[in-house]
Symmetry: none
Subunit: 126 residues, 2 copies
């Protein structure tokens, strides 16, 4: 698969794709939209002022990075957030993580409260 560089390390790290995908505001906004719900390509494109083809390319980049998945049902292609790839990148970043400022314990407590809490949560429109 991936060729190996002189160090024995792969020449293209999956992190390359993840971070490169995140380095664009449009794509980050798309991810934020998909956080709320799965969406069709056309609906993803709607709020943006660029062509459908451009959004299609962005979605391809996000897919290649593993940040989303796309499933075609009928003539509609549904886009779905895939948080696992982000988790890998997040883990990489935490190795730098002095993170004095952010209290990760508090963050985890917050997450648990949110997920267990308010409305039992997942009412996805499938």
């Amino acid at each position: 698969m991936g060729g190996a560089g002189p160090n024995g390390l792969p020449m293209t790290d999956p992190l390359d794709h993840v971070f490169a995908a995140l380095a664009d505001r449009t794509r980050r906004e798309i991810l934020t939209m998909l956080l709320e719900d799965d969406m069709a390509v056309t609906d993803v494109a709607e709020p943006f002022e660029m062509s459908l083809a451009a959004i299609s390319k962005h979605l391809g980049i996000l897919t290649r990075a593993g940040l989303i998945s796309q499933e075609k049902r009928g003539r509609v292609k549904w886009c779905k957030l895939e948080p696992d790839a982000l988790r890998d990148a997040s883990i990489w970043m935490q190795s730098f993580g002095q993170f004095e400022a952010v209290n990760l314990d508090a963050f985890e407590r917050f997450l648990e409260a949110e997920i267990d809490g308010p409305s039992g949560g997942s009412d996805r429109a499938d």
Copy 2:
């Protein structure tokens, strides 16, 4: 440079620079090296198989992203890791890692409290 887009949002988010800087294996390796110790430019360049000028450019990109700082002492320029910029990106990513269909308003309140809170606000060294 920082014009405003049609949404009133800035056209170039600081996160653009951070993620773009991280999207290159060489730069990630440089950050890893700096994790252990501050280093001079020449020493940073030594293990790589590219020119010193190329490394100098990479360091410029990392500096522009706020991921490192450079201080010239004598004729040597010392490079130092700046974890704060990474913290912001990490916080952004965490919103995707663990959330399913969670209350984003509460998440934003959490972030504001965390960022404004513990150390009297974000004092970025630009």
